[in-house]
Subunit: 318 residues, 2 copies
């Protein structure tokens, strides 16, 4: 018997014959069917549950996207199910598929992740939030780093910075790659370049920013300004500078990326490249609902523009 | 037919007769039974999924408990399903009940919440993490604030602080209440007291700490030290002091609670009352699994002890 027929029979739909309804009801009774969510999932194939896959929940970035996604999903009659995992492995893909979700928002995709492949193979709708993987196309909400870096680099160049350092994110993320491209292009526009000696790479976390900055500041000629892959890395850069007695912004200017709320705190006051993160999260919720309800609709990629936010940590070098 | 019988029949258990197996299989086939998670939930009544209810995910505190809970549950063969909600309402209780969870960790309970009542009525096992509600008893992992406040107050008193302020958490949380009791008892031990003029209350967030501190610092005789309901409130206290040009710790000492990782950053360097938050989160995972698997076991309440961590923000008053 087809799923729609079973579903209609359980709903007492007049299109289903009395005999079929009786058989379905008997089967349901025999199996101890209760009108639970699991039962609805079995009978209708829909749960109105959207998964959000995160592999790095201790990163403060993700704390700020969950509420906007949740609120937007709720307003459309969907529930948010957070899947906190350590990595996006085969096992994680199987869990997403087995959990009766209508769709998934992938927020921590790496370019080499198997999850998009598995979800596509099993026809579970998904979208990319922030990070994308080129191996499978899907709807996406992404950040365009270009304008933010142009504004930030222009300001740094105008202030006289020439020796520019960078602490970039992991090479297997699309976000680290696109920010590096935008930073290099903006620097080139002012006759500047990132020399390999002044570039460090690592995870998007505070410890990575701290370690990379400690290394950069130990050079005979350290950079006068460091562009950080995100704000969370920049917090680590500020920690290392404070510990080493390097004055910010006198001895070292620091520029972040994301514009997280804490970057605006008086005790941090980080110059950063910002965009509307809450709106981007809400848009991700809208995209996945649209995809779940219109599986053949054309792909949508929503780009959020960036702007430079001048705060305490960028000033003229001594 | 009983759930265990259906479950055994679907597993082809030899204790089930061939006739029963045939009937169950026919019913499952008719309903389009697939060996999915939803199917397993229907047939066995168990999903090996544990819910974690959080109503304030933008609070950095919660970022730090999710990974330890997830890791411990995974090691015991359970999955973590995060339920991010805005408040713990009837609707939220219904969702938890409808989502086929084996058990729930309640992490943001208020003393007036209906969720514990509803879960008890529907026999869905749950435990309290950090915050408890006295209306329904359940296993709990909690913090004992006494020793931490004794150590912190002794240090503040030894340094010469007499005019003590406090920015406490919401009155409808057990954590705010127990910290206030511990703070007042510790102060009394040194002949000190919290005078009403120097006490503020509000949500456990940075904005609340900022507003309360701005108010306290506008008094004709402001406090020389402020005890904060948690570290996140204390960040707001530090922000307000910085904005108002009040020097920490020279003009104002600040003491937090929780010992979050960011409190130890060089750029924050907050004196705080700490405990093993990651271990407390892991213990919560162990308690809920034990409860799910032993519904009649006696109640367990695990208390985590606190200690004072001296950092930059506590020193002698001018």
């Amino acid at each position: 018997m087809s799923q729609p027929t079973v579903s209609r029979a359980l709903r007492d739909d007049p299109r289903v014959s009395a005999e079929t309804k009786r058989r379905v009801r008997d089967a349901a009774n025999l199996l101890g069917y209760v009108p639970s969510d699991a039962g609805r999932a079995l009978s209708s194939g829909r749960t109105r549950r959207i998964g959000l896959l995160l592999t790095d929940l201790s990163n403060h970035f993700y704390s700020h996207i969950i509420s906007p996604i949740h609120r937007e999903l709720e307003s459309q009659g969907y529930q948010l199910m957070l899947h906190a995992e350590d990595a996006d492995t085969e096992l994680v893909a199987e869990r997403l598929i087995g959990n009766g979700l209508d769709g998934v928002i992938l927020a921590t995709t790496t370019v080499d992740s198997v999850v998009p492949l598995r979800l596509r193979d099993r026809r579970l709708p998904f979208i990319y939030f922030n990070r994308t993987a080129s191996v499978v196309d899907a709807d996406a909400t992404v950040v365009s780093a270009t304008r933010g870096f142009e504004e930030a680099v222009r300001r740094a160049a105008d202030l006289g910075h020439r020796r520019i350092g960078a602490v970039l994110g992991p090479e297997n993320t699309s976000t680290a790659a696109s920010r590096e491209v935008a930073l290099r292009a903006a620097l080139a526009g002012h006759g500047l370049a990132l020399v390999p000696e002044l570039v460090r790479r690592g995870p998007f976390d505070t410890a990575a920013g701290d370690a990379a900055t400690t290394s950069l500041l130990s050079l005979a000629e350290p950079p006068t300004a460091i562009f950080c892959g995100n704000d969370v890395i920049a917090y680590g850069t500020l920690n290392a500078a404070r510990r080493l007695g390097v004055e910010v912004p006198g001895d070292l200017s620091v520029i972040g990326f994301d514009g997280l709320p804490a970057a605006g705190w008086e005790i941090i006051d980080l110059s950063t490249i910002a965009y509307d993160l809450a709106e981007m999260a809400a848009e991700a919720a809208r995209l996945i609902v649209h995809r779940v309800e219109n599986q053949d609709a054309p792909l949508v990629r929503t780009e959020f523009d960036t702007r430079f936010v001048q705060r305490h940590t960028l000033a003229a070098p001594r």
